[in-house]
Symmetry: C2
Subunit: 163 residues, 2 copies
Amino acid sequence: MTSTAFHLSTFMPYRLAVLSERVSRRLSVEYEKTFGLSVAEWRVLVHLSRCGAVSVREIHNCVNLEKPRVSRAVSRLRDAGFVQKMPGEDDGRLVAISLTDKGASTLAAILPAARAIDARLRAVVSAAELKAFCNVLERMHAVLDDDPDAKPRSRMDLEGLDI
Amino acid sequence: MTSTAFHLSTFMPYRLAVLSERVSRRLSVEYEKTFGLSVAEWRVLVHLSRCGAVSVREIHNCVNLEKPRVSRAVSRLRDAGFVQKMPGEDDGRLVAISLTDKGASTLAAILPAARAIDARLRAVVSAAELKAFCNVLERMHAVLDDDPDAKPRSRMDLEGLDI
DNA sequence: TTTTTATCGTTGCGATCGCAACTAAAGTCA
DNA sequence: TGACTTTAGTTGCGATCGCAACGATAAAAA
């Protein structure tokens, strides 16, 4: 009657969570080294480095962070002098957030270590395996896309490139 | 001079985090439905269902949760009547945590939905693809195993089976 | 124009987390 | 035995998060 014993280590949500947490934590060691950056702040910096002046909502839509989390991350980054906020030109509600020189150079200082971690993770698989791996990630995303109870995917993750 | 623009959506730590967060959130919809269970509480319940009476440290070592998190999860579960804590028999420091009938039946009520989500994720890939996918996950874990700055892997995730 | 509705960003609140400090119990060694 | 070290579990503290509510601005409707 009892179905097979439920084992966490074979449970896909658990497996993804464990690896992801471990990788994220390892990465955070790097950007905490340079400055006490959080995951949210790290994502905001990276996004700004590519997208110039954007609004809170833009960031929220692009890097999988809740709106208040983005807002608070931006405030901390501004206090630290890494970003600047300017009032939106045509729309008074929007704010234009952009990197300062200090923010850009700080990010540049962190990027090599981040790239190195990424490279190390990729180095253990062949190009074909990596492609297949990402393909599976994508298909699992698609499962959630079809699930009304799942949170919709952010725009950047849907398109190949954002903006 | 400038290396390729850094794009989050091609960054492995980010990709893993986004899918993992989305899957975890989708799963939490299920076990919040039955009772306001957190991820930690869910993992504790699942682990207990297989491992009987175990200590806090046992759980901590097995399901990738910090010790205080386990302790608090157990307290909440005890207050809710899902688990019971009994003093260790030979060692006065240890506590033997085990499921109550109510806890077992509650877990049994949640498991089908959890299995369904897991099954849906697996259904979009063939057995061979799934094996290759898990193999890549494992190799990425191994990268962190060799990294002194990464947190060691928990015991259960290292062995094929825990305990 | 005036009213209503929608959107943007921020803030308050409750809950949770991680880390470190702490208490209690066991083990170790003189 | 008694002092010291180690381990198990809990708790305090600071920080963070997610959600909902809020004020402010803009757009839409009347």
